[in-house]
């Protein structure tokens, strides 16, 4: 595939997509703006035709892998099918043109969807209240830990300065704890993938504000001691935080609320099939147990006795941790999640956990059969699992990164690599419930072929990929000789 020029290289002075903007106005129409506050030169934006723009960005789109094109087994990312119907519904004119500050009298349709979505999420998680406000998983985490902090502060319990985090956790967990003003203490994970309960007991104390964990964990296994963990943290006066990154594994099967969690965030762009959009937008609603209800972020949707809907905001919920965005979060993403929830219904919701787990366990067994090494062979896979290529790296000099890059040549997106950090040379693989058996089998065939190549032509594998728009990129040059904007 050829190098695509930058949009700026297509620019010619005086060219414009004239039909896309209103006509120029006479300068006297702008006389109210003082000259010293006026821009002296027009911004150097590209001067291109409508067709040039359409062709340029359509061509760029073809340089992406996407769920609509390829199997995308990224662990902890839940790359499932994104229903097209959800996109169309969220882009109905009545939704798209609604101003976020439109009065409640002109917002009943939108508010009814949000109110119902809150209820659905409450039900599937077993929590007592839900706010849809956080705009991504990391902001949901922020809201959750800020609520933990608000809870302790409201009780005058201000000696709690630490958040405990298992060492396998996502990087956002420790970063979030720090953003909320806490110190982080990591808790070791045992050889079987479960938290080291003895170490946890020692780490807990009057300084413990809470524990953040994912279940199933990022080791791809269900944390079997969850009730003992909850008891330990609660007895120390801390609260238990559920990172919903892996909620897809248990949707409809187990509820975080029933496991003893006090606060959770959900990634609707994972579990509720809203698009990842090349890195966002997401949506990270939070759910809480009874004792954290007063602190939920605003605004939320409420319902009056007469059935009409209204906003719940800080004027009525003064204990709230407040607003996390200018308005109410990523509303359009929430509408897509609402569509998905209505589309699945109760039965469909239960199937998500079941079939994502079936797919992962099947894929794991098949991959083991062709010579891959499971990190936790004695354990059931959840909706994802870990392979380690430590042996290939040691004996053949072929790393997990090399295998990941070679997969691209087989038209398979690489799994998550080198995460969690505690398993060397690893892949975290999550197939999701929406991939067919044939798609899983193709991935197994590709992996078998690559393992064979690693034995016979290791140097070739180390130079992969060969079929992509670019070969391996020089990341060191990118960081040392920073080039972040185009210069004509």
């Amino acid at each position: 595939m050829s190098e695509t020029q930058l949009i700026f290289q297509l620019s010619h002075p005086g060219r414009s997509a004239t039909s896309q903007a209103p006509k120029a106005l006479a300068e006297d129409q702008l006389s109210a703006i003082p000259a010293h506050l006026r821009r002296q030169q027009k911004p150097a934006l590209p001067e291109v035709s409508e067709m040039q723009v359409v062709r340029h960005y359509t061509n760029l789109s073809s340089k992406n892998f996407a769920i609509d094109k390829q199997f995308y087994p990224l662990g902890s990312c839940t790359m499932k099918y994104n229903p097209r119907g959800a996109n169309r519904a969220a882009m109905l004119p009545g939704f798209l043109n609604r101003h976020p500050l439109a009065p409640e009298s002109h917002s009943q349709g939108f508010l009814s969807c949000m109110f119902e979505l809150q209820n659905f999420l409450r039900e599937v998680t077993g929590m007592k209240g839900v706010s849809l406000a956080p705009m991504a998983g990391a902001q949901g985490e922020f809201a959750g830990v800020a609520m933990i902090r608000a809870y302790h502060e409201a009780r005058g319990d201000d000696a709690r300065t630490e958040i405990l985090i298992p060492e396998a956790a996502h990087g956002t967990n420790p970063a979030t704890a720090v953003m909320c003003g806490y110190k982080v203490r990591e808790v070791p994970v045992g050889k079987d993938g479960d938290v080291d309960l003895g170490a946890l007991k020692q780490a807990c104390g009057p300084q413990t504000a809470g524990l953040m964990m994912t279940n199933p964990s990022t080791c791809g296994v269900f944390e079997r001691q969850i009730e003992a963990i909850a008891k330990t943290v609660h007895e120390a006066g801390g609260l238990l935080y559920y990172d919903g990154a892996n909620l897809n594994a248990i949707l409809g099967k187990v509820r975080p609320g029933d496991m003893g969690f006090d606060v959770i965030h959900m990634n609707l762009h994972k579990t509720f099939a809203t698009p990842h959009g090349g890195g966002g937008p997401g949506a990270g609603p939070v759910g809480v147990s009874e004792r954290l209800l007063p602190y939920l972020p605003t605004p939320m949707a409420g319902q009056r006795d007469d059935g009409s809907y209204h906003w719940v905001d800080t004027d009525t919920l003064s204990t709230s941790i407040g607003h996390l965005s200018a308005f109410m979060g990523n509303a359009g993403v929430l509408l897509r999640a609402y569509y998905y929830a209505r589309s699945l219904g109760r039965e469909g919701m239960i199937r998500v956990g079941e079939y994502s787990t079936l797919a992962a366990n099947y894929l794991l067994k098949r991959l083991e059969a062709v010579g891959c090494t499971a990190a936790y062979p004695e354990r059931r896979a959840s909706h994802e699992f870990i392979l380690t290529f430590a042996r290939e790296a040691r004996e053949l000099g072929v790393s997990a990164m090399d295998i990941a890059k070679r997969l691209l040549d087989y038209n398979q997106h690489a799994p998550t690599t080198y995460f969690p950090l505690l398993v060397p040379e690893c892949f975290l693989i999550e197939p999701t419930e929406t991939e067919s058996k044939e798609a899983l089998d193709e991935f197994v065939d590709a992996m078998a072929a690559i393992l064979e190549e690693a034995r016979t032509e290791p140097d070739m594998v180390k130079e992969a990929p060969f079929t992509q728009p670019v070969r391996r990129l020089d990341d060191v040059k990118a960081a040392r000789e920073l080039d972040l904007t185009w210069t004509d």
Partner: protein, 452 residues
């Protein structure tokens, strides 16, 4: 089964390969008493695409059919058809974060072009790949200023009262957890501006930064050059909060005062993103080159591949949570990729001429609207400062009452300033290029009836 492809034969074959009798067996590591069986009864039955679409059509239609003059941080603009037709192509819509650079060159090049566009629009050196929205972007900018201002030991930042109060509230909610204090600078009751005189008593005090909003929440244009120079003379960084449409006409923050703003943030929604009840939008964030390592969020760099061919990749990742964990610049893990892609296409389609024309029509239409409304008895401009595309009007009756009566006529006549500013009779109104002469007359006629 919606979205699940497996036939009974597939399921049997998969279970056989696993060596399990049933799907339920796969959950044997979960304590039985924790299982959710029977606990989801409040969820409705699933619906077909046709039925959910019908349901959501009815809901959407309930909220349609208004003429709106609400701005206050989110603005109606014409969005060319090509923008979302391309942005929702599956190749953009269903791609993940571009961690596998070789298989994500489309997304990566779009972000690099976006960074360039935003840097040029703001006249700053660099841009990131976007943050959640303008308000949370300001919170990130405040935290960044504490890291970037090496001359200051302060954990305080000066914030104008004339800043969008929703930005102040969100920033407060986010930064207070790190013991950062926002101190308010009052605005001039006559002009509706933040004056250097109001800052005089802070001279010699240690603050990490001064926030300057251009235009400010009232639509008023601030004397940004004087404010910027004052802040720099007092050892503070300048955080600019700007509207991207306005930047086509107004001095870009990189050229404010003698040295320009240090960090620039703003709401990107006006660049091709629909109102959509408040999101997804995107916050843009630019800064001077020397502060780039303190900037949060994803950043894309241009480099070469092993054959010397141009390519794009995530860079400066040592700032980010997936590498640095508790020492990262922020916990942010996404950008608003799709909205940012739409903005890149929008800005390219409009070009310098088109964006300038949009901005000019917004300004002229708002001037025309203000003239029509202030021709009514008892309706006056609240402030004397020049404005961009919003203006505060005082009414002879309480704002809440008037707005409710207008809404009954399906005219959304702006937002009330009663709650945030104790200006009980004041409304903030906005017009953009989408408003026709007829729309402006409709508003004036409706207001006349309501005030009669």
């Amino acid at each position: 089964m919606p979205y699940i492809p497996h036939t009974p034969d597939d399921v049997r074959a998969m279970l056989d390969a696993i060596g399990a009798d049933s799907i339920e067996d796969l959950f044997d590591e979960i304590p039985a008493h924790l299982k959710a069986a029977g606990k989801l009864d409040a969820l409705p039955e699933g619906l077909s695409e046709m039925d959910v679409t019908r349901l959501m059509n009815e809901r959407a239609a309930q909220d349609a059919g208004v003429v709106s003059f609400i701005g206050a941080g989110a603005y109606q603009h014409h969005i060319p058809a090509a923008v979302w037709e391309i942005a929702t192509r599956g190749e953009f819509y269903t791609a993940y974060t571009p961690y596998q650079a070789e298989a994500s060159q489309g997304t990566l090049q779009v972000i690099y072009e976006f960074q360039t566009l935003m840097s040029r629009l703001t006249a700053m050196d660099v841009s990131n790949a976007s943050v959640y929205d303008g308000a949370s972007g300001l919170a990130e900018a405040v935290l960044m200023s504490l890291r970037a201002n090496r001359k200051s030991k302060s954990r305080k930042v000066l914030v104008p009262a004339a800043l969008n109060p929703r930005y102040t509230a969100a920033t407060q909610a986010i930064v207070e957890n790190q013991d950062v204090a926002l101190e308010t600078v009052p605005f001039c009751q006559q002009s509706g501006q933040t004056l250097v005189e109001a800052l005089a008593h802070h001279e010699g005090e240690d603050y990490a930064a001064l926030v300057i909003s251009q235009p400010n929440f009232f639509g008023s244009l601030e004397e940004v050059n004087a404010l910027t120079d004052w802040a720099h003379a007092n050892g503070m960084l300048v955080i600019a909060v700007v509207n991207p449409t306005a930047l086509a006409l107004l001095t870009p923050p990189g050229e404010w005062g003698a040295d320009g703003a240090d960090i620039v943030v703003g709401e990107g929604q006006p660049l091709g993103v629909p109102l959509s009840s408040g999101g997804p939008y995107f916050g843009f964030m630019c800064c001077k080159q020397k502060h780039v390592r303190q900037m949060p969020g994803r950043i894309i760099g241009r480099t070469v591949d092993m054959e010397g061919k141009q390519g794009f990749t995530l860079t400066l990742q040592a700032r980010e949570q997936h590498i640095r964990r508790s020492k990262a610049t922020s916990n942010i893990c996404t950008n608003q990729g799709l909205a940012m892609t739409a903005a890149t296409i929008y800005t390219s389609l409009l070009g310098p001429e088109g964006l300038t024309n949009v901005a000019a029509h917004c300004h002229a239409n708002t001037q025309a609207l203000a003239a029509k409304l202030t021709a009514l008895d008892g309706v006056e401009r609240a402030f004397s400062a020049p404005t961009f595309h919003e203006v505060v009007l005082t009414l002879p009756k309480p704002a809440g009452e008037v707005l409710a009566a207008l809404a009954e006529k399906d005219v959304l006549g702006g937002v009330s300033l009663a709650k945030d500013y104790n200006m009980d009779n004041a409304i903030l109104v906005n017009a953009t290029e989408v408003h026709s002469e007829g729309d402006l007359d409709l508003f004036a006629a409706a207001l006349k009836e309501v005030l009669a």
